[in-house]
Symmetry: C2
Subunit: 459 residues, 2 copies
Amino acid sequence: MTSPRNAALEYAKENQEKFLNSLKDLVRIPSVSTAPEHKADMLIASHWLMERLESLGFDTRLIETEGHPLVFAERTIDPAFQTVLIYGHYDVQPAEPLDLWLSPPFDPEVRDDSLFGRGASDMKGQVIACMSAVESILKTTGLNVNLKWLIEGEEEIGSPSLTPVLEEYKELLESDIVLNTDSGMIARNTPTITYGLRGLAYFELRVFGPQSDLHSGIFGGVVHNPAQALCELIAGMHDEKGRVTLPGYYDPVIPVSEKEHKQLAESPLDEDFYLKQMGVNELWGEEGYIPAERIGARPTLEINGLYSGFTGQGSKTVIPSWAMAKISMRLVPNQDPAEVQQQLVKYLQTHAPNTIRWELTPMAGAPASLLNTSLPASEALADALEKAWGKKTVYKREGGSIPIVYHMQTILGSDSILSGFGLPDDSVHAPNEKLDLPTWYTGIEALIHFLFNMQDLEK
Amino acid sequence: MTSPRNAALEYAKENQEKFLNSLKDLVRIPSVSTAPEHKADMLIASHWLMERLESLGFDTRLIETEGHPLVFAERTIDPAFQTVLIYGHYDVQPAEPLDLWLSPPFDPEVRDDSLFGRGASDMKGQVIACMSAVESILKTTGLNVNLKWLIEGEEEIGSPSLTPVLEEYKELLESDIVLNTDSGMIARNTPTITYGLRGLAYFELRVFGPQSDLHSGIFGGVVHNPAQALCELIAGMHDEKGRVTLPGYYDPVIPVSEKEHKQLAESPLDEDFYLKQMGVNELWGEEGYIPAERIGARPTLEINGLYSGFTGQGSKTVIPSWAMAKISMRLVPNQDPAEVQQQLVKYLQTHAPNTIRWELTPMAGAPASLLNTSLPASEALADALEKAWGKKTVYKREGGSIPIVYHMQTILGSDSILSGFGLPDDSVHAPNEKLDLPTWYTGIEALIHFLFNMQDLEK
């Protein structure tokens, strides 16, 4: 007789095409959270998810917010069982620049065993992987685990509505563990659990010069060009050693220990990996640290966007009246986004000349997280990944930020376990985002193993 | 009996509304030379001008080029008379940003004695002023002066087609003097002749980093962000004294003489004027020079545009794969745009790190000009301006560039005299460009005086 586990795994194998079609349907909804013109698509995506979860036997509700709604779903059998809260987000990054996509971002296409489309990897693919695993179990046997879902629509814009929702629905969202598949694998066939996440502080900086655009011939030479002034301010934000110059920026940063340095030095994410992955001649970064440390254990400051004056074809001899930069910092444990904001303000107060005015708008922020890998649920996940891939699970600190992990810890008191089936070359947040389908199918198997492992855990 | 001069002046007074309507008609044609989508409007504008000139009795022809066509017109009576070539341009700067215009840029509107619209001042207003003066004379009496017109459509993009046209039509364009009203007045009621113009060298600089946009969490810390690298390169283009750091940039620059310094120190374009005009707290510029010197006699380097990454609303955590700046230099006599390009290339070769790639595209260039104010035609113009305003004509060096003046000198051997009836607060190249109508009407009178003065000149 087939074991329940094997029956579910069998179902998953037989229904790969169905799962893929389901993912394609979700990718087709252009749920770009940052773009006001996609507000309706956000609603369409959230309702699509509710219908899917209802068809699997879940009670669902839409949690309204000032921004985009969250989808909540629940299937509680017995309080004595383990309760797993599956977190996900249904929003995606903007697809621009559109002309660089080989197939339209919201018209998913399979090429070379990969599904191409915005959100295929980050993280609609991961959400559908979780649903497919749950479907494979519930349609074949059953599961003595209580399941909850929380799928938000604002992850890509810093989850502004999340904190009030966690506070208001604290009881509803109670769980023993949060499964978050919004992380990725360190390499193909290398099952990975992420135990460290960087935080984020995101700002828009505007520099104002003359009260209107000016003719650069008639006024060039007497006014501080705000585009130039912005460049001067940005140039000063790193020193010649690649260190961020905001006052006190590194003060709370925990030094990388000898032990961690040795672990990270063995990471496949080494200099050669990044050179090849990014197609550059030479890496850049903070002096004295290896790439895996600079990505995982050290804070950074990036320019995400620049705009000023005339950017069309041809030439326009204008002195722009203002200039703008999107600036964000990836933070490590112990750094506080609010403190970082104060450091940036102080930097600007010190370095911005009187020839210009500036305005700083905070856009999003969350501290970094470090997770406990000795939790039974974390070990259950590691075992599940190893069963699916037949290889040892590796642990990594990731450069990205998932604010929800921090808020779940502090508001709900819930620990998260972090994994996912995206690969480093998935081009998430970039044109031609893709999902590796063989990896994805194996990921669904791993999630089936994880849920059965949770059933076996004593409460 | 009324003198011919007075009859023409009388006609001009009686037909102010007709002249204004004619200008409005021309402003309504959105002849933006840099924008491919306005190619048809360029043709419409050139044909509109030909019809107007034909109705005044001129023989016209359209001179085709690889870019936008030029309008040529001629009324030659007797080779013994003086021949005046009236230069103009019918193209305008882009109107963007559109949301800052109080009335639509191509739907001209009179408010407070000013006509608002793109090109009202620069320089459709000046072209129609010349036509109105000619009409006032030809419709009332007649003129023993040979007149030619050359009205180009590429002034705002650096006149790329002009040099070949001047070379091919050298004989056709022969004249004793070129009247160019593409300059302006130093202040209201201050008739002005411009005798110095800065040159221009305009470039687009692109900095390339990773081969595609990257997630700033996953890759932040190992790659040189091209937006940051661009800012670092731009910040280094000026030193702390506001001097341009391109190697050898100031070597050919002629020092400001003691005499010129004294003249320029009396200019109404002083620190207070610029502070008020631009609405800034503090001026900026090369240390050791007064504003009128920095504008007129010293070369500059300006950032005209910046673009990189995500510039929409909200936040996107991307490391852009490239960044772009539009960079232009205003040059003074003795500086060669081709040499300046070499200096910029050398600067980039020296300062651009191996972590990025860069590409420099030259967009437009012309050397500076210094004009002879002792020419009889220049004195005829000074006298005409004084007759119209009842005030002494002032002479200025202008910060702007009019490449045609240089090319007319070197290719045709023709001297130009430069004036115009725009005011410093006309917002040329900016939103809400306007033309002061009382000044404009007086300018038409001045041009009538000038043409009669030319008739009185012995050849």
